[in-house]
Symmetry: C2
């Protein structure tokens, strides 16, 4: 069975028709539920078998030492790893004293289904125990999008062929044993028994466990309560131990009788509050959840999602699998960002322990551009989290001898946790990526209060960083030397084009914001001289260009480097970073992920159309996509320069990253940036959306495989713009709000309420297909009209980031 | 007391007039004895107090893990650390049951003296025990230069104010407790109890201990025997335990009576041989030593050194302290290299555990150029060690995707042990440094057999490495991208001038050697096509040049980088690497150690005189000398471009590195490269010797502080050339051999036996003094005629490498 046979193809949901024990961990990621605060992998209710047990609370981590073979100044010595907190999902079942364990007995049916419209993970199984009794088990699990601390499970069991003695054990388990790490540097460090018990208690069907992490000193509380419905008399009992709470229900069911258990779970954590405070906080959340009731939670969830989809859906006609994948992507991006509330959005969301649960530039560069137009409050929250980390970023800047703030390359709480500085600290572009996200959010929403109170300080401190990092050379050019751009197969280069263009935008944005908020800027010590310095540095920014080749080198000297020997690099040597040393990757022309091409997307204004075409063709030959952060960007620029079918192929790769497990590491969690990137591929690629100027600009073009793409966007608080694109025309409809000005191709349009505006789309000029490194071409995607699987995965495609 | 008050100033020796317990470890390094195989720090005979106990056997190390915060392909995972082997130096004394411990009682006199002409460390003390008995203790220690496995001590005690009961305990102690590490990354990792006992035995006054290292599985044997002379009846007794052997002598001496103990010690180790074999090997060495006897060993030592000095002395008139320092330097370089015999010469010799006992490029670049002209056999041995490591170097090259051989940046046995690749593996120049040493040795000695049997394979395999590391760009230039040159404040740069010039020489040397030994080259798979490829790559080698500034950038783009803010870098922030992050050092114009300037020394033929002057002035402003591998090179080029007094200052810094503890880390061992560099400063600096062409070239010039410099050189086996330089003229005398052709200034001379040739030296043109980074100027050295101390150490000068 290939990775993607596992799921049916349908537009609004994902259904797994049978259970494959070999790839349990992958399904646990794909079906994970989260609201951005609480995350639950789709571990089976009964706990075992499992691929990778995981329950996460955003911001809960443990410290661990970062070792170095050779010490050096400024290397972070303490790392942060997400930990598996108290597992509240577990409901064990005994049928006539036989544990319900799918590894034993006969499993006749097993189905799991996630519907993107209701946010419920439904499971049903028909199982005959080794002793011969057959039961039907159904369960529904939710992590509430409306009640941040709350998850709930409805669990039902029914004997179908005769009477059975049934015991249900609903549990809270702390310090679950985890499978040992597999040595892949990309997987999380497994932290054994990170929780130290502080408190355990029970009362009726309620129980609570409170723990503290050993080194990071975070207090974590988990509590549960239960409602039992039974067609037969039953008895309940609650017990607690330091690492374990259990509520047991016992009954005897006749054939056709049912036992149903509704379990409410509430989580809370704090770095500051006392044990009674945290304990009471989760008790309150639990009480509220129980008051809402199971049906109430389900209904809230449905309404929340209904509203979300009404304003944010992306429709894809002509390719059902892609339609499914894009909604899957949007759903998980929503889950990752919905309720983070001043916490980070990690690279894997809360779907797995990959990358130690760290947040990278992925968030601001890929995830927030999507959330900006569908869940802008989540963007404000995510950026407010960055704002709260400014003191740490200032301290890091001081340690590095820089002004302003240096945001960490990877972190959970805010401290730099990168143990390899050439691909960590040296990637200073993260500061500009965050600044760009601030700028975009403010422009899209008009949230001047956010800009004034939070955004400007981020812009100012990052601009100060750039001004101190760069310098003017003898000819007056402003240079930024010795930094690492997005492409991690180059490092420590001078004048990385992406970095310099993003820094330029950052410097200008800071000056502009300070101009709008002169008073508040003055409070940050900004005066007009400093603003002028930023504008001058931006104006003098040096952007290298290779006149001979007529392309932009990714950084100084890049186009002089030796070509990677792509012809003699076999498929099994990818991702390259696992088979070749950094020194070799760094000094050759080979690109892990879009770098100059990303610059052409986010700073499209800095390139001519002709440059974009030439640059794109040049870098296509060099880009191996050993990172999941590449295909979507290549899709966007491929579409812009007219390679629409190639864009389509890249879009599919980005969208199917996890459903087809293209990186081979979906088990460790979903690739949020790639999922968000699929949405970007459609909206910025085929929709041609660019949002770096005052008005939104669209330049829609469809590939041959798609008949229609449509999407909605929330703008300036109360506007909802709907864009529908066919091969012949684009139609702009203002679904909510009064009027909006936008640009279609080169034409300025004003779209007003209830008056859709349509404009024709020119027929695309056929172009010769571009070359990629041999064996690294994206799979060709052909148009599909029904639930079949036609695409072929690139052989051996694994992700390297 | 400052560092250098400790020693008297005299031309042929070093004398410490009193004991300073605070700086014991420094004196232990300075007075260390070694023959390149066995090394003994100058720990006091009685073992305590000590600074850093140390007895080393060249090649005996323990493995230890090299940890990384983030894993990557090709990172070495196992490191090697020199270990303190069984201590055979210890002779404890009890006076009326009071241990002779200088921390107690009254020490009236304590003197240690090392004479460079006899190689004996003599000690005498006059001490009154806490109980009031006064004794005179004298001891003499030697590590034999003629009997490689052997050390010996003559120890004498005499009560001077009345009778005393005397016990002497002569010991072998394995797994000595060491002081804990101080956290300085430059100090050795302390390995606790690395030796596992295998065998212990005694017979008469003899005892032996055999151990194995735990992980590296090296077998180490130490044995001792004793002769007692006593004016009074005495009793001897021997005991052994697994980690301890003791021979005790007891007697009662009257006032003026003496007890003398002569201790013979022999060491051996093997990675392959059995316990009986290693045990018997040391027993044989011990027997031979005892047969030679104490006086015999002393006489052999004296003769060996007499011969050495006759052919290798460097005379410095006008500055006694410098004369002393230069002989100190030569003596220790001799000790480090004399009897290595297919083992490495570590950066610290066998004088301390600094840098984990590793061998770096220091050996080939600084130490071997000196040994080539005074102890050429030692050079052949050191290069034969490199030859024996070729299989490891080929394996490393294959791992790195390169042809030929990649020698390790740091190692004991031959495997790469660098845990930070940007300043380790990326410093590929070590391959060319080794090739250059081969070339120099063969040219100086005419040892064609060595070239054919060992040297050529090194040249061929390093040439192959360069050919695969570099590539031709579109204009046909041969580029070497992404490497690190000598200066460790830059990293991973394109076309480092030093590296490219050295690679060019390496490629040519390989082609030339293959031409001389066509048959043997063919056996290595070399054909004329490959030789042509090497020559072509060498001819096309790209050497960047900054036309605007009229200087060579150290590497591509270097002169565009921001200047380090020297003005605002206070003295206490040096060495910079302990106070600033690498990213910051790498991207700015700041130089840790001569890089481009070293290129001008070793490849002087590649620069015009004008370029040398301009380059030197440019890099003087940037070079902070945070490495001890810099002053000597700056001295050489300063002299060449006419800054003779500046050269004198740098010479003094190199020469006094350890006697004045300028780096603050002499405690961890002596800086062999700096000591050798002092000799280079004189010979290549004031002598103006260049040896990269067929004939030796001299261009002698003296600074105002020196009235005469003279040195002898061994050449082509049986020639000894003596060069004497005054301010007015240079005189070339052939002391041994028939005739030699050489170049003085631009003039070719033939010097024949017994016919000294004198040539006038032009009066130097006064030049304006160059600028160095503020606070990093070398101390000005004024002419001295007697034993006074006039120089001032640069404040806070510490070494960073």
């Amino acid at each position: 069975m290939t990775a993607h046979d596992a799921f049916t193809i349908e537009p609004w949901g994902l259904c797994e028709q049978s259970l494959d024990l070999d790839v349990l961990a992958r399904a646990e990621s794909v079906f994970a539920l989260s609201n951005g605060h609480v995350g639950m992998r789709a571990n089976l209710d009964e706990g075992e078998p499992h691929g990778l047990p995981g329950t996460y609370l955003n911001g809960v981590f443990e410290l661990r030492p970062l070792p170095y073979a050779e010490a050096a100044y400024g290397q972070p010595e303490s790392g942060q790893s997400v930990i598996n907190v108290t597992n509240g999902k577990i409901i064990r079942l005994l049928v006539d004293d036989e544990p319900f364990d799918l590894r034993y007995g006969d499993l006749h049916e097993h189905q799991r289904r996630l519907d993107f419209r209701d946010g419920l993970l439904k499971r049903s199984a028909l199982w005959t125990s080794p002793a011969g009794r057959t039961v039907r088990v159904t369960s529904t699990r939710l992590v509430s999008l409306t009640q941040r601390a709350v998850a709930a499970v409805s669990y039902e069991v029914e004997p179908v062929d005769g009477p059975a003695r049934i015991v249900l054990q609903s549990e809270l388990v702390a310090n679950e044993q985890l499978p040992s790490a597999n040595g892949d540097p990309r997987a999380s460090a497994v932290l054994e028994a990170p929780l130290v018990a502080e408190h355990h208690a029970h009362n009726g069907a309620k129980a609570v466990l409170v723990h503290q992490t050993r080194f990071s000193n975070l207090r974590v509380a988990a509590t549960m309560d239960h409602i039992v419905e039974c067609d037969s008399p039953f008895q309940g009992e609650t017990e607690t131990e330091p690492d374990h709470a259990r509520y047991s229900v016992t009954t005897v069911l006749k054939k056709g009788q049912k036992l149903r258990l509704v379990k409410f779970i509430a989580y809370g954590w704090s770095a500051a509050r006392s044990l009674p405070a945290v304990r009471d906080q989760v008790a309150a959340a639990l009480t509220a959840a129980r008051f809402t009731g199971w049906d109430g939670l389900v209904e809230e969830q449905r309404q929340y999602l209904q509203e979300f989809w009404a304003r944010s859906d992306i429709e894809v006609d002509g390719d059902v699998e892609l339609q499914q994948a894009v909604r899957f992507a949007l759903f998980h991006v929503l889950q990752a960002g919905a309720r983070t509330e001043e916490r980070a959005i990690p690279a894997k969301g809360l779907t797995g322990p990959g990358y130690d649960g760290h947040c990278f530039w992925d968030t601001e560069t890929f995830v927030l551009p999507v959330l900006t137009y569908c869940l802008p409050d989540a963007v404000a929250q995510a950026l407010r989290w960055r704002y709260t980390t400014l003191p740490m970023a200032r301290e890091r800047a001081a340690q590095l001898g820089l002004a302003g703030a240096v945001f960490p390359w990877r972190t959970i709480r805010g401290e730099e946790c990168s143990g390899y500085w050439p691909a960590g600290t040296a990637a200073f572009h993260i500061g500009a990526d965050i600044a760009r996200a601030v700028e975009r959010y403010v422009r899209a929403t008009g949230d001047a209060g956010f800009e004034r109170d939070f955004g400007m300080e981020i812009l100012v401190e990052t601009a100060r960083m750039w001004r101190s990092l760069g310098h003017h050379d003898a000819e007056g050019r402003f240079r930024i030397d010795g930094v690492t751009g997005p492409d991690e197969y180059s490092s420590i280069a001078d004048n990385n084009v992406y970095t310099n263009l993003m820094a330029q935008a950052n410097l200008r944005a800071a000056a502009d914001a300070a101009t709008r908020h002169l008073h508040e800027a003055a409070a940050l010590g900004v005066n007009t001289e400093e603003m002028a310095q930023w504008r001058d540095a931006a104006a003098a920014m040096y952007i290298p260009y290779d006149e001979k080749l007529g392309v932009h080198p990714q950084a100084d000297g890049f186009t002089n480097h030796e070509m990677w020997d792509f012809e003699n690099t076999p498929a099994e040597k990818y991702p390259l970073l696992l088979h070749f040393p950094y020194y070799d990757l760094y000094r050759k022309q080979v690109v892990k992920q879009a770098d100059l091409v990303l610059a052409m997307q986010v700073r499209g204004d800095a390139f001519t159309a002709e440059q974009k075409s030439r640059n794109f063709a040049y870098y296509e030959r060099l880009t191996v996509r050993d990172s999941s952060l590449s295909a979507c960007t290549q899709a966007v620029i491929a579409a812009e320069v007219g390679h629409l079918d190639l864009a389509y192929d890249y879009l599919a790769e980005a969208a199917l990253m996890d459903l087809h497990d293209l990186g081979g590491n979906t088990r460790d969690g979903l690739h949020m940036a790639s999922l968000a990137g699929a949405c970007i591929s459609l909206v910025a690629g085929f929709g041609g959306l660019r949002d770096h100027d005052e008005h939104l600009v669209f330049r829609p073009r469809l590939p041959s495989g798609l008949s229609r793409v449509a999407f909605a966007m929330r703008l300036r608080g109360n506007l909802v713009l709907h864009v529908a694109i066919t091969r012949a025309e684009a139609t702009y409809t203002l679904r909510e709000g009064e009027a909006i000005k936008l640009v279609h191709d080169e034409e300025e349009l004003v779209v007003t309420a209830d008056k859709p505006v349509s404009r024709p789309i020119p027929r695309p000029v056929p172009l010769e297909r571009l070359h990629q490194p041999p064996g690294r071409e994206p799979a060709r995607r052909h148009a599909q009209s029904g639930p079949t699987v036609a695409s072929v995965d690139p052989t051996g495609m694994h992700e390297g980031e």
